[in-house]
């Protein structure tokens, strides 16, 4: 016999399928499958059959025949059983009407492990309910949405069984249940929206709900009838039976709620227990087998409708997401800028999930749509994500619990779904979901449910059946798998787009490089080709000067020709130098600057006949770079210094250097005419000359060459200057 002593601590282990008892409104007889002898019988058989129950044990099934009157006298229960065995189902045979002691009964046959369960229960319904069930089914299926379906079902089930309260109880992810539809007598308090802890329906009960789709507890106050047998150590499995006695814990639970009779119908969606249609009556009320079967049918119809509608609703969402992806792809292909394409149209990144805000950071620019935290908070979050997630996708619906600073904007972003869009961890999209301050109304306080009785925790669930509310904070709606799939889809699209763009930029860059090289080659070639005829012009002019027959006037003109040719020649040489900076390879070496500057200065002082200029040399550190080019830089800088200070009273030029971290910096200063700071940006531009140097020869190329050389060395060049006071030019070369 079942010796299991149950209380709240172990009720999930209670073997409820072998209670050893039945509800006493019916009669149970089990016959052995092999010899058809009666192996178990409920003790209340004595009441129904008017003969001691134990007298029937281990007797053949036929011994019942004299106690039970059938419609067709020759047809015995044994024949019925055999027919069912041949047909492999009792669905078309039972309920089989018969009469015991002048009272109508149904016989329902179902299999147990080694036995057939023969359950006899009273017939109470006087009319056929088939047509009612048909109408119910069609009116339920009118419901377009899931909630309409549910509402329709409770209304119809109430009509069918007439209980005081019909609820649909839905199991949520963590196993706890919520009342999602209700139809009740108007004087009853509503349970709609109440939540029940997972422990209210223990695991093994849920398993039974999946196997046996209806469950009637006819009267919580009747005394169960024990099953008697000679097989004391082989308890009878009542999984498929309908008379199975109820766990005392469950009885207490119902009693606490004031429920006398309870009936439930399983809702199975995709082979999982989706929920229950739970029916309560506040007085004892038996439900006729046929009405139960009708309710079961409604449950099955609802189940398949739910399955279909849920899929339909899910796929609508999925379609919507896919649609967004397609539209965004179109924008990406048409628009020039990524962020603009993702955020600037009617359908945006925000439509990729059901989030209420989205932020994208791309190329260091933050752009948001919808409800999002302030910029500094987003940036802080991104920094945190960078450290804490190395996955391309990260999501949570309880952000502030793992990232405390998020608490201050939990009403906007309790849920985040972040997705990186490039190798740079700072380039990211984050969707936000607001806090769902859900007030969950629990039915009965689970914490109060265990009552200590004489030192031991014994059963008394839901003694205080008051509603208590728990506010679930810091939590957003969960991110659905469909949303994550949608984000991954968009990510793929964006990453592809970025790669494509990067490729285009690379190609453009290559073209630009080629164009630059071509330009250098062009300037070089054209300058070079100009040199030869120019030399001819000058040379012929010089030869003519030697001709005695030309008069003084002619000689002057020839001298002007020669002077112009010289200017042009100088300009051509400068352009050649500039073009050469771009064309030639750099040969890095350590350049001894004091010796290089000595040569350069000697040359310049001779060329400009600059003996009146004072030259002060400071520390001359060596530089790393291309010697020819460095020479060019200093030739140009010092030439300028000389050129633009030579007309001063006491011209003075200083050259010195110092190290600053990774750079060596040279300063070339003069006390010449200086540069108007308004033109600061134009000083290094090609062919640009300032208006205060009109009378001084120059080409406007020298400093452009300096800048180009310094940049090819990854160095820097700048200046400080004051009009009519002098200039200091700085060049910084890397020390590596």
């Amino acid at each position: 016999m079942n010796k299991f002593s149950v209380d709240l601590t172990n009720c999930d282990k209670e073997p409820i399928h072998i209670p050893g008892k039945i509800q006493s409104h019916g009669l149970l007889i089990a016959v052995n499958k092999s010899d058809l002898n009666i192996s178990y019988i409920s003790d209340n058989a004595s009441l129904f059959l008017k003969a001691p129950a134990k007298n029937f044990l281990e007797k053949p099934l036929t011994s019942l025949n004299s106690f039970i009157k059938q419609q067709e006298a020759e047809f015995k229960i044994e024949d019925l059983l055999k027919l069912g065995v041949i047909k492999k189902t009792f669905d078309s045979i039972t309920p089989y009407p018969l009469v015991i002691n002048e009272n109508p009964f149904y016989l329902i046959i179902s299999p147990s492990e080694n036995d057939w369960l023969l359950e006899f229960e009273p017939v109470t319904l006087q009319y056929d309910i088939q047509s009612l069930i048909g109408r119910s089914a069609s009116s339920i299926l009118k419901g377009k949405s899931v909630s309409d379906l549910l509402k329709g079902a409770v209304v119809e089930v109430k009509k069918l069984i007439g209980y005081d309260r019909i609820m649909i109880y839905k199991f949520l992810d963590d196993g706890h249940g919520e009342v999602v539809a209700e139809e009740k007598e108007s004087d009853l308090a509503s349970f709609f929206g109440l939540h029940y802890p997972a422990s209210d329906i223990p695991k093994q009960a849920r398993e039974l709900y999946k196997l046996n789709l209806t469950r009637l507890i006819a009267d919580v106050n009747t005394v169960d009838s024990p099953i008697i047998t000679f097989k004391e150590y082989a308890p009878l499995d009542l999984t498929n039976g309908s008379l199975r006695a109820v766990s005392p814990i469950h009885i207490q639970y119902l009693k606490n709620m004031g429920v006398y009779s309870s009936f439930s119908i399983s809702l199975i969606v995709n082979n999982e227990l989706w929920g229950l249609i739970a029916c309560h009556n506040y007085s004892s009320k038996f439900i006729d087998y046929k009405a139960r079967e009708g309710s079961k049918l409604i449950g099955q119809i609802l189940s398949s409708a739910l399955e279909y509608r849920q899929e339909e609703e899910d796929s609508e969402v999925v379609e919507q997401f896919k649609d967004t992806a397609t539209i965004i792809t179109t924008h990406l292909n048409r628009d020039k800028y990524l962020v603009e394409a993702l955020t600037g149209h009617k359908r945006t990144l925000l439509d990729v999930t059901k989030g209420t805000g989205v932020a994208i950071i791309f190329e260091n620019v933050l752009k948001t749509i919808g409800n999002v935290p302030v910029e500094t908070d987003i940036l802080e979050l991104v920094a945190w994500l960078k450290i804490n997630s190395d996955e391309s996708i990260y999501y949570t619906h309880r952000l502030s619990e793992i990232f405390l600073p998020a608490k201050k904007y939990k009403s906007i972003a309790s849920g985040i779904l972040a997705c990186s869009i490039s190798k740079d961890p700072d380039e990211i999209i984050i969707w936000f979901k607001p806090e769902q301050l859900t007030t969950v109304n629990w039915a009965g306080n689970a914490d109060k449910s265990v009552i200590f009785d004489q030192g031991s925790a014994s059963l008394s669930p839901r003694k205080s059946f008051e509603i208590w509310a728990q506010i679930i904070s810091n939590t957003s709606e969960k991110w659905f798998p469909e949303e994550i799939t949608s984000v991954l889809r968009i990510r793929e699209i964006i990453v592809t787009f970025i790669n494509k763009k990067a490729n285009e930029i690379r190609l453009l860059n290559e073209k630009l490089q080629a164009a630059y090289e071509e330009l250098d080659t062009f300037s070089y070639t054209i300058s070079h080709d100009l040199k030869t005829p120019l030399t001819s012009i000058k040379t012929y002019a010089e030869l003519l000067l030697k001709n005695k027959s030309i008069d003084g006037n002619g000689n002057k003109m020839l001298e002007r020709i020669i002077s112009s040719a010289n200017k042009m020649n100088f300009l051509i040489r400068e352009i050649l130098n500039l073009a050469r900076v771009g064309r030639s390879e750099l040969t890095f070496e350590t350049v001894n600057m004091s010796s290089l500057l000595k040569d350069i200065n000697a040359e310049i002082w001779t060329a400009f006949k600059a003996d009146n200029i004072e030259l002060i040399l400071g520390q001359l550190l060596s530089l790393k770079g291309d010697k020819t080019m460095i020479a060019q830089v200093f030739t140009n800088l010092i030439s300028n210094a000389v050129k633009y200070s030579s007309m001063e009273d006491k011209p003075k030029i200083e050259i010195s250097s110092y190290t600053n971290g990774e750079e060596t910096i040279y300063a070339v200063s003069d006390n010449g005419i200086g540069i108007d700071n308004r033109y600061y940006d134009r000083v290094f531009e090609l062919f640009k000359r300032m208006d205060n140097v009109k009378d001084i020869d120059g080409t406007g190329v020298g400093l452009a060459i300096v800048k180009r050389i310094v940049e090819r060395h990854n160095g820097r060049v700048w200046f400080e200057s004051k009009l009519n006071a002098g200039s200091i030019f700085y060049v910084a070369f890397k020390n590596r």
Binding site: T532, T535, K538, T539, L543, N569, T628
Partner: protein, 139 residues
């Protein structure tokens, strides 16, 4: 055929004229032979080898139509008889790459064409001094 003191390959008739004038001003006894292109130069070089006449100095313009100055330089260095003749590459360009290539191919010197007549005369003076006097003495 008279052995030239200077054998000069130059396609620019103007510069050829300046050279002629400048050489005469320098010293009218110097024999200067000028040819205009690579093919003609090749022909003359073969003649020198066959007739065993050796110019004292060869000047090659770098940029010539057809065979370039560098091509001619290679050919000269491959003719055993002319191998020892000093060759100077003579060009408008002062591109370091041109200079380097010329020296690598065995030029004895590289000269950037002087700018203007007076400079050319000065230049020829020093060339004459080095390659006709000092250089010969060294030999």
């Amino acid at each position: 055929m008279k052995t030239p003191d200077i054998f000069y390959v130059e396609d620019d008739v103007d510069y050829a004229f300046f050279m002629q004038t400048a050489v005469q001003e320098l010293k009218d006894t110097i024999n200067l032979t000028i040819v205009e292109d690579g093919t003609e130069a090749l022909h003359s070089l073969q003649n020198f080898a066959e007739s065993k006449t050796k110019p004292k100095l060869i000047l090659l313009d770098l940029n010539l139509p057809g065979l370039s100055g560098l091509d001619l330089l290679k050919i000269i260095r491959d003719i055993p008889y002319l191998k020892s003749v000093p060759v100077i590459l003579f060009s408008t360009s002062d591109d370091p790459e041109d200079v380097q290539a010329s020296i690598e191919f065995g030029a004895n010197a590289y000269l950037t064409k002087p700018d203007g007549y007076d400079n050319l005369v000065k230049c020829l003076h020093s060339v004459h001094d080095f390659w006709f006097n000092q250089h010969l003495r060294l030999n």
